[in-house]
């Protein structure tokens, strides 16, 4: 990212300045899988954001006159035990699932970046202590850690975000630390130090932009994992409480009617699968273009 800008300065303005979006698109274009991922994600996000415009039905209010209608006709994905349109609930549910997933990744990435930067930059005891704590967090299966955090904080959406976020901090911290160790002794950091920049400025203004690429890849792939965890916790009844639709909650609702109304649990699962698949496709593409070293891992 910064290379282009530096090049431009060096080359005296021969290279056009591209916005981050243009750069993103230029890289993504080379990977057909990633394009499919972007298109799928766009459709899913738009249908969640504009659910109230697209669907004529209410996601929460029961309508017992049309309960348990099979898919087809007025209700493409059928209706549930209270006569609510399953497709509508999935679209509204996408708002929560995607939002909670993104915030969890945001929490994990932000905390992971700060810890990784400090660990790699200061080294010594700071590094030792922070990395041992990360090792300990990593040595617990993440869903178990999330469950323990929810036990402590209590169920609820915000706590789910924290629980999922905290469990994935170490992956970000470790990758950033590794990158910082490589960047710490480069000439541009020495130059910044010689110019009188303080530690915080060097870390956030100079090193951070150069170590972000793998973080972006990890955050994209991490979003896929976060969406799965949000759904799992919702299914267990530890996330948002019904009747608000969330994908895991809708599947849990449909579980009891698996025998005579398979569609209630099946379609939200397909929605999760499509979203996670799209995110994985995009993440794989980003990884291949932004950081070829990570390929195949």
């Amino acid at each position: 990212m910064s290379r282009n800008i530096e090049n431009k300065e060096v080359l005296g303005g021969d290279m056009p300045i591209r916005t981050p979006f243009q750069m993103f698109w230029r890289e993504i274009r080379k990977h057909p899988g990633a394009i499919v991922g972007v298109i799928m994600l766009t459709i899913i996000i738009l249908s969640a954001v504009f659910a109230h415009v697209i669907s004529p039905y209410d996601p929460v209010k029961p309508d017992y006159s049309v309960r348990l209608q099979p898919p087809g006709g007025d209700h493409l994905f059928g209706t549930d035990t209270m006569g609510r349109d399953v497709l509508t609930r999935i679209m509204y549910g996408g708002r929560i699932s995607l939002w909670v997933g993104m915030i969890s990744v945001g929490i994990a990435a932000t905390a992971g970046i700060v810890i990784g930067l400090m660990s790699g930059f200061f080294g010594g005891w700071t590094d030792e202590v922070l990395m041992r704590i990360m090792d300990m967090i990593m040595s617990m299966p993440s869903i178990l850690l999330s469950l323990t955090i929810i036990f402590t904080l209590g169920p609820g959406l915000v706590n789910v975000m924290i629980a999922i976020g905290v469990a994935s901090i170490p992956s970000y911290a470790r990758i950033v630390r590794g990158q910082v160790l490589a960047a710490r002794d480069t000439p541009y950091v020495e130059a910044a130090r010689a110019a009188g920049a303080g530690n915080v400025k060097i870390m956030f203004r100079h090193i951070l932009p150069n170590v972000l690429a793998p973080v972006i890849v990890m955050a994209t792939l991490g979003l896929a994992g976060a969406i799965l965890s949000v759904a799992a916790l919702g299914f267990l009844g530890l996330g948002i409480s019904p009747p608000t639709p969330e994908w895991g909650v809708i599947i849990s609702d449909g579980r009891a009617r698996l025998y005579d109304a398979w569609w209630i649990a099946t379609f939200p699962g397909l929605a999760i699968m499509a979203t996670v698949l799209a995110t994985n496709l995009l993440g794989d593409g980003l990884r291949d273009s932004l950081d070829p070293r990570l390929r195949g891992r």
Partner: protein
């Protein structure tokens, strides 16, 4: 090598100690502490709550309680359930075989399917089988395992009647949950085995094996696979962690007995000694499996140097 083993065991012990502290700290950090939650339904007075706190030993400093918890845990005592008053260790001992059986069966399925599909995809690189397998692997890693479990129940148990819908009595009860939990890891492993196999198939010793006139089947499955699996071993440890975590939700879906089922019920009833014990036991199993995996890696690949 001996030095490495010693070092690795010591570090596993330190990590176990750290994990026990994290679990203890989190479970005991409950806002308003456990007694408030327990007594909320009964409308107890502040004095009664104080009495319960003293009975449970919650009025003492955190570090004192941790030390007591740790020394008791080392003697095999993880306290008693707040509700059933039964010993936590006894309950965990009853439940853990079912959980370990499920995780191992899932791992077996993951390794078998992952290796077969990964190798066959690598050998048929660029062909329809390869593309299809890799897409299937991507689908497998994108599916929520609890949902897959429900689909399995609907299709194989309700519709076809091949397997029971729930329970954990016989091996037939194990098939659907093991597949539900193992397919995701199978997808991860298939992708990894494929890329590792492609790397190995380019090596000189494979060309040598072929030029000796060995059949392609022997070259691939005897010579190449053995080496292609080495990097896979490291991932097995991480995947086993996923599977252990996954058992929690799979046990709920299939109404199976197990530690996961115990933990979830304990979370809902605020039974903190049970949550603490259950999580600790699964975490320790995970640390132990990773230790074994790391040591195995050293034996499998003598080129690895441990410094």
């Amino acid at each position: 090598m001996t030095k490495y083993i010693q070092k690795r065991i010591v570090s596993a012990l330190i990590v176990t100690l750290g994990v026990s502290f994290i679990v203890f700290l989190m479970v005991n950090m409950l806002p308003g502490d456990a007694t408030a939650v327990m007594l909320a339904e009964f409308g107890a007075t502040a004095q009664e709550q104080e009495e319960l706190r003293r009975q449970l030993g919650l009025d003492r400093p955190m570090m004192v309680r941790y030390w007591e918890f740790l020394s008791n845990a080392l003697r095999g005592d993880l306290g008693r359930s707040l509700f059933t008053r039964r010993r936590v260790v006894a309950q965990l001992l009853e439940q853990y075989p079912a959980t370990i059986r499920l995780a191992l069966a899932g791992m077996g399925i993951a390794i078998t399917l992952g290796s077969i599909f990964g190798v066959t995809a690598a050998v048929n690189r660029g062909k329809v089988f390869d593309t299809g397998t890799m897409f299937g692997a991507l689908l497998a890693v994108s599916m929520p395992s609890f949902w897959l479990g429900l689909i399995f129940i609907f299709f194989f148990a309700v519709r076809l009647g091949w397997f029971p819908t729930s329970g954990s009595a016989t091996w037939r009860h194990l098939v659907l949950p093991a597949f539900a939990i193992g397919l995701r890891s199978a997808g991860v492993l298939a992708r990894l085995v494929r890329s590792s196999m492609l790397e190995v198939l380019r090596q000189d010793y494979i060309t040598t094996a072929r030029s000796k006139g060995l059949s392609e089947r022997i070259v691939v499955w005897r010579h190449a696979l053995k080496n292609a699996l080495i990097p896979v071993v490291t991932v097995v440890g991480v995947q086993f962690g996923f599977l252990l975590g996954g058992t929690v939700i799979t046990e709920i879906v299939f109404a199976r007995q197990g530690i996961g089922d115990l933990i979830i019920k304990a979370i809902f009833s605020h039974d903190f000694p049970l949550v603490q014990g259950g999580v600790l036991v699964l975490a320790v199993v995970f640390v132990f499996v990773n230790l074994v995996v790391d040591l195995t890696y050293g034996f499998l690949d003598p080129r690895v140097r441990y410094d």
